[in-house]
C-alpha cells in the first residue's frame, strides 16, 4: 500500500510517503489508523485525535468503515484549509 501524509500529519510522522504491506487483520480505514498508531510514538501522537484526521482512498474522501487493500493509495491529512 502507498501511504501519503500531508500538512502537520506529515511533520509529526516525519515523512511524506511510505510503502507498506498490511497485516492480514487490517481490512478497513479504521483498522489501518489503529494499526498505524501502534507503530511508534510519532504515529501515536499524530493520530491521537481522529476528529482532526481525514482519509482519502484512491483520491476520494472515505469514512472509517471503507475497505482497503495493498493496491490502494491512502492519504491521511488534517481538514483542508485552502481557498
Amino acid at each position: 500500500m502507498k501511504l501519503l501524509y500531508f500538512a502537520w500529519l506529515r511533520s509529526r510522522i516525519g515523512h511524506a510517503e511510505e510503502q507498506t504491506t498490511l497485516p492480514e487483520h487490517v481490512r478497513d480505514v479504521g483498522g489501518l489508523l489503529e494499526w498505524l498508531r501502534g507503530r511508534g510514538p510519532a504515529y501515536a501522537e499524530a493520530l491521537r485525535d481522529l476528529s482532526v484526521v481525514r482519509v482519502a482512498v484512491n483520491q476520494d474522501y472515505v469514512g472509517s468503515g471503507h475497505p482497503i487493500s495493498d493496491r490502494d493509495e491512502v492519504a491521511i491529512f488534517p481538514p483542508v484549509t485552502g481557498g
Binding site: 483520491q59 488534517p78 485552502g82
Partner: protein, 153 residues
C-alpha cells in the same frame, strides 16, 4: 477550466478571456482570495510574514473538476474557471480565482459563491504560516463547513 499552479495570475486578463467571443454571456462573476495576515489568537496583524500552501497533486485537480462539474449541473454557465496557487506566498498575494460566466447574473453570482464555498471544504490544500515563533498550520474553520451546508438539501 481548472489550473493548479505556483505562478501568479492576471485577474483582468483571465476574466476577459472567460467570456471572449461568446456573445450569449451577459455577466461574469468572480472571487479572488488573497493572503491575509490573521495574526495569532489575541495578536494583531504583522505576525505572518508568509504562508506556504501545500496540496495533494492529483486529488486536487480531481476534486476541483468535480466541484466545477457540480456547479455546471446546478446553473446554466457559459464558462467557469478555477485557478488555485500553491507554494510560498506573502500577505496581499493572490491565492485563488473563481470565475463564472452566464447569460444571467443570478446564475453567475450563485455559482461563483457555491464554487468558493465548496472549494474551501473539499479541495486538498493546507496553509502553514511563517510567524516569529515558527511555522504554524492554519486550523480549519467550522464556519467553512456551515457555508458549504448552505448549498446542500
Amino acid at each position: 477550466m481548472i489550473r493548479v499552479q505556483r505562478e501568479d495570475f492576471d485577474t483582468g486578463a483571465e476574466l476577459d478571456r472567460l467570456a471572449a467571443g461568446d456573445h450569449s454571456v451577459g455577466g461574469v462573476a468572480s472571487f479572488v482570495g488573497l493572503v491575509r495576515d490573521m495574526g495569532g489568537p489575541g495578536n494583531s496583524t504583522g505576525q505572518v510574514s508568509a504562508l506556504t500552501l501545500e496540496h495533494y497533486p492529483g486529488m486536487t485537480e480531481r476534486k476541483l473538476a468535480e466541484i466545477e462539474a457540480e456547479a455546471n449541473r446546478r446553473w446554466p454557465l457559459a464558462a467557469s474557471l478555477i485557478i488555485h496557487r500553491y507554494g510560498r506566498l506573502e500577505p496581499g498575494d493572490r491565492i485563488v480565482l473563481v470565475a463564472t460566466a452566464s447569460p444571467h447574473r443570478e446564475a453567475a453570482l450563485a455559482a461563483c459563491h457555491f464554487l468558493i464555498d465548496w472549494l474551501k471544504t473539499d479541495a486538498p490544500f493546507w496553509k502553514s504560516e511563517e510567524t516569529p515563533k515558527g511555522e504554524r498550520w492554519v486550523a480549519a474553520h467550522a464556519d467553512d463547513d456551515a457555508a458549504k451546508r448552505r448549498w446542500q438539501g
